[in-house]
């Protein structure tokens, strides 16, 4: 059970949050210009890394804000949390 440092509220129990999958997948600005394959790449393809992964999290039972998290999936160490739109920290 993680202790997550919400960038808006501070440390809270994991039960207040929900995970929204891989981060930094930007919705294409011009979907109509894309081929089926390019659209499918956006729509379906997600990484499932053993190791450091960038994830979206939502403080669902708190401030309801979305933010990003860098987490090592092999030991659940949270390396960083940062607001939406902010640059991911360099490893």
């Amino acid at each position: 059970m993680f202790l997550i440092n919400c960038p808006y509220c501070g440390e809270r129990d994991q039960s207040e949050f929900s995970c929204g999958g891989e981060a930094h997948i930007v919705r294409p600005k011009q979907p109509t210009e894309l081929s089926d394959n390019q659209w499918a790449e956006y729509l379906f393809m997600r990484k499932n890394i053993k190791g450091v992964q960038f994830e979206r999290w939502n403080h669902a039972h708190g401030c309801r804000k979305w933010f990003n998290m860098v987490r090592d999936t092999s030991n659940d160490k949270i390396h960083a949390v940062y607001k939406m739109g902010e640059k991911p920290p360099v490893e």
Partner: protein, 1000 residues
């Protein structure tokens, strides 16, 4: 006092007699006993039968590692509990306990026959034997296994006890109240840290608390006396919370731990007063100190499982702590020094004891002490057999060969009534590994030792591999100082005297003159697996410890192999000729000891199991005989039977009334989202498939929302309240998800949009009035309002007042009738409703529930998201092409509408179905086929909604059918159990295709 109670101790109050019942027989023990110590004080060793072979088994240990003494307590009461360890049950007046795994009785057991056919129950027996025929499984094998296995009986009635959950935060959590836990707690609490110490026993002190031996002294006091003083000081510390009878169940990441506190389990049933029985503590600690100690290992030799064979340190605890001698003619079988403490304790009390030691010699102080007391020691020897059916009565020993791989010389028989074994110590690393910690293997004493993982968690004491008193005290002190960043402590100059173990010898499987195959050398006592089983598994090709474990079921019982895992590993390593450290260990998973379901669910039972949401009009519905259905967490009126009307009759009546005159529905549960901001119109454009920019203020529009994959996600009517202000409605069940999906897009994809979303579902109540007379009713409620089509057209909204209370009236329709929805602040919902009913009386206004609502909309061919769609339907599949804007450049899901898969023409599409027999009502969910003769029969779709329509006087249905769009007029078949129902594909709008009724 019984003859086995040989010693007075301060931990058991021998002035307070406690009577209890075991297997139907009455006994006496004392206050302070456990069930196990009380049984032993009565000379009772045999307490159960083993799981597979039904061999007689006795009490083996004094703690949570106990594999044999597993009981059913308080059978035939609501409070009965199976699989409870007798070693952990504190004795109380009137306790009733019984053995498990035996029928008809522990002394005569029919299943014991398995013992004689045991050569035929090898490893994997269950996998190999009960494979075929398949039909045997349900009727023969499973009942047989369940009957003979008998892992206790579940209670049959609801648990009457109360359970509780509590969250707690602390600076330091210390797990285990033995000597190192006590030292750590004192240092932490004295350094201004909020500290919690948890201990699973009812008193602190671990095994040091009954250690009164010349060879183990701290500051020139007996170690038990020294510890007593420390504990007394500990009780005075303000910063420290001590939780006894509290066992750690789970250690999760980020120092989140669960611990179960037993509050009333030790009290007689009549003294429990309905208070909380157990509390589950949810602890978040800055720092965690694990001081869980070590478990003594048994030794693996032929027939090592008879009643009377116990762990050596447990024998010592029964003697020195409970005052109970487990036998009068004791033999100790050991490979290490610690068992000599037991010998010294026994001998000092004048009880006969001899020692069999597999080592060749030892010159440590404690060994010399035992020799001086006249204890006979058989060096370099091993036990090759034991005798005695219901209790051990003798053993046979032989000398070991030089390398320990064989036995040599003559057999020597020794009589005994208790055999205390010690195979060394295993650090309790369960908590460390649960939290994600790794282990290192230490060759010297064949133990797995924790590797420290982070700065917020350490292990101290014997769970960290420190077994000698001096090491324990000094290393604990040093580690805790470092961990808590403390520069000096009162333990810095503690003088410790202890006997040091100088000689070690370890043999995982002791050799025998009898062949392997004929030896019953048990490793896992609870699951009855033997060394032979492990070897067989290896011969059959299993290599990984995890596979061997599952195949032989070693370590898979309720004790999770606390006593067996190390031997299993050792024997695998020896047999396979590999180094033990390379094998890795099995994974320990929570809970450390089994938890009651009660403690897991806490207060979330009965009406607290889930949230129940009721509209403000709920009370009226109840008083008017409504039957309710659950929609998400909401209770919605389903139908309102009059007298003894059933569902069908009530719905037919309600539906007819709604179309003939007027009906009223509580629509308060529909999700409502208030949308404001300068970009609100643009936002709606992006989330709905149709266009929103041109919607005038005061107008309403139906919208369909897709997922990015193009599939219908939700629908509802949205009203433009102002230039930058909308009220969106969603389906009842989808409200929360829609809000979070919209928030997601706003925050992550379109942060540039100036839009604010607020859930207002609970803020407004909604009465929906429909039917040709609805306009007249509205006019009576709002006499000042002009409800003409010109002044108040369909799909528009207006503000109004009832007695100064603001309302919003929307003229929208989900039934196809002329229809109005009145929204009012929730607290006035019931008054509004009652007013509508009152005013509507002359028009026979009829309240209707969800079932009628579903029927009415189906007549009109309106879909219900989640009933007619299932996450695989596009708007095109639903034949709702009209709602998908061709002009908009983008909206959620647009691009997916022309993926190669979504433009397939043979997708399932929404159609209407009419049965050839108009009275035949299809079953929702029924499969649809076109040809019953061609095998295998192809399923081409299924029925999604089906009703008998009183307004059309025939059966109607909606269905999704492959290529359904092109099938209008075509005959299809709905095969049922007894007949094939012939249906004709039709338009999905059955009533009023011209939309005349909404202008009635």
């Amino acid at each position: 006092m019984t003859k086995f109670r040989v010693n007075k101790t301060k931990h058991v109050d021998q002035t307070k007699t406690v009577s209890f019942n075991f297997d139907g027989k009455s006994y006496h023990g004392f206050d302070g006993d456990t069930l196990a110590s009380a049984l032993l004080s009565n000379g009772v060793h045999l307490v159960g039968r083993s799981f597979k072979y039904h061999r007689p088994r006795g009490i083996m240990s004094c703690g949570s590692e106990e594999p044999n003494a597993i009981c059913q307590i308080n059978e035939d009461t609501d409070l009965t509990e199976p699989n409870v360890r007798a070693t952990e049950i504190e004795l109380y007046e009137g306790l009733k306990a019984s053995s498990q795994n035996c029928w008809p009785s522990v002394n005569f057991d029919i299943g014991g026959i398995n013992n004689f056919i045991s050569p035929f129950i090898p490893a994997g027996f269950y996998y190999k034997t009960f494979m075929w025929p398949k039909s045997f499984w349900k009727k023969i094998y499973e009942p047989l296994i369940r009957w003979s296995a008998g892992l206790g009986k579940s209670p049959t009635k609801p648990d009457p006890e109360l359970y509780d959950h509590k969250h707690v935060h602390c600076d330091v959590l210390i797990i285990g109240g033995g000597i190192s836990g006590i030292i750590a707690s004192k240092i932490a609490a004295k350094n201004n840290l909020r500290t919690i110490l948890i201990e699973d026993k009812n008193i602190l002190g671990g095994s040091t608390i009954f250690q009164k031996n010349e060879n183990y002294k701290i500051n020139n006091k007996y170690s038990s006396e020294w510890l007593d003083e420390e504990i007394a000081e500990l009780q005075k510390l303000d910063n420290l919370t001590i939780k006894t009878r509290t066992s750690l169940a789970a250690y999760h990441s980020y120092n989140y731990l669960l611990a179960k506190e037993n509050i009333s389990d030790h009290l007689p049933l009549d003294k429990r007063n309905g208070d909380i029985r157990q509390r589950l503590w949810k602890i978040r600690a800055d720092k965690v100190l694990v001081a869980t100690g070590a478990i003594e290992r048994p030794l693996v030799f032929n027939n090592n499982d008879r009643p009377g064979i116990m762990l050596a340190n447990s024998v010592k605890k029964y003697l020195d702590f409970y005052g109970v001698s487990c036998g009068f003619n004791n033999v100790i079988f050991t490979n290490n020094d610690s068992a000599y403490e037991t010998a010294v304790s026994l001998k000092e009390k004048g009880i006969s004891v001899e020692i069999i030691d597999i080592r060749k010699k030892s010159n440590s102080k404690i060994v010399k002490n035992a020799e001086k007391l006249g204890v006979k020691i058989y060096w370099n020897s091993t036990i090759v057999n034991t005798f005695g059916h219901r209790k051990i009565n003798s053993i046979e020993i032989m000398n070991l060969s030089e390398d320990g791989s064989n036995v040599v010389g003559d057999k020597n028989r020794i009589n005994c009534d208790c055999l205390a074994v010690s195979g060394g110590w295993t650090p309790m690393v369960h908590m460390h590994t649960q939290s994600g910690g790794k282990l290192d293997f230490r060759e010297n004493d064949q133990t797995f030792i924790p590797t420290e993982i982070d700065e917020n968690h350490i292990n101290v004491g014997s769970c960290n591999g420190d077994f000698e008193l001096e090491e324990i005290i000094n290393n604990t002190n040093k580690k805790v100082k470092n961990f808590l960043k403390v520069s000096e402590t009162e333990f810095d100059n503690t003088s410790v005297l202890n006997s040091k173990e100088l000689d070690k010898r370890n043999i995982w499987l002791l050799p025998n003159y009898i062949s392997d195959g004929k030896c019953k050398s048990f490793i896992d006592f609870q699951n009855d697996s033997t060394a032979k089983d492990i070897k067989l598994a290896l011969r059959e090709g299993f290599k990984s410890i995890e596979h061997v474990k599952r195949y032989t079921t070693t370590g898979m019982a309720t004790d999770q192999g606390k006593l067996s895992n190390m031997h299993a590993l050792g024997i695998i390593a020896d047999t396979a000729g590999v180094k033990m450290g390379t094998l890795g260990t099995t994974t320990f998973r929570p809970p450390f000891t089994p938890l009651t379901f009660g403690s897991i669910v806490g207060r979330s039972v009965g009406k607290f199991f889930d949230i129940i949401r009721k509209t403000s009009i709920h009370e009226w519905h109840s008083q008017n005989n409504a039957k309710f259905e659950n929609v998400g967490q909401w209770k919605r009126p389903w139908y309102y039977p009059i007298n003894d009307e059933g569902l069908h009759d009530a719905v037919q009546r309600e539906s007819k009334a709604a179309r003939d005159s007027a009906g009223i529905l509580d629509a308060s549960t529909l999700g409502k989202i208030d949308i404001q901001g300068t970009d609100a119109s643009e936002f709606l454009n992006r989330v709905y498939t149709n266009a929103w920019s041109k919607l005038g203020i005061g107008k309403c529009r139906y919208g369909l929302m897709l997922n990015e994959d193009g599939m219908v996600y939700d629908d509802g009517v949205t009203t433009r309240l102002g230039e930058n202000h909308y009220l969106m409605t969603t389906t009842t069940g989808g409200a929360a998800n829609v809000l979070s999906k919209l928030e997601d897009y706003l925050q992550t994809e379109w942060p540039e949009l100036d839009v604010y979303l607020t859930s207002v579902t609970d803020h407004y109540s909604t009465a929906s009035i429909c039917g040709p007379n609805s306009k007249k009713i509205l006019t009576k409620i709002f006499p000042d309002k002009d409800f003409s089509d010109e002044a108040f057209p369909h799909m528009s909204y207006q503000n109004a007042k009832i007695d100064e209370i603001n309302c919003r009236i929307m003229r929208i329709s989900f039934t196809g009738e002329l229809s109005y929805e009145i929204n009012i602040e929730s607290k006035y919902g019931k008054s509004l409703w009652e007013k509508c009913i009152e005013v509507g009386k002359e028009f026979k206004i009829t309240p209707y529930g969800t079932e009628t609502m579903h029927l009415l909309r189906a007549e009109k061919g309106f879909i219900i998201v989640g009933q007619d769609t299932d996450g695989t339907m596009t708007p095109i599949d639903l034949q709702m092409d009209w709602i998908v804007s061709k002009k908009k450049y983008d909206f959620i899901g647009k691009r997916s509408l022309y993926r190669s898969d979504t433009i397939r023409e043979d997708r399932k599409q929404l159609v209407g179905l009419l049965t050839d027999d108009p009275n035949e009502v299809l079953e929702e969910g029924a499969q649809i086929v076109s040809d019953v003769n061609k095998k295998p029969i192809e399923m081409i779709g299924h029925v999604t909604s089906s009703y008998f329509s009183p307004n059309l006087n025939k059966s109607i249905a909606l269905a999704v059918v492959k290529s359904g769009k092109k099938m209008n007029g075509q005959k299809l078949i709905v095969p049922m159990e007894n007949k094939n129902i012939i249906v004709t594909v039709s338009d999905s709008v059955f009533l009023d295709k011209e939309n005349k009724r909404i202008y009635a």
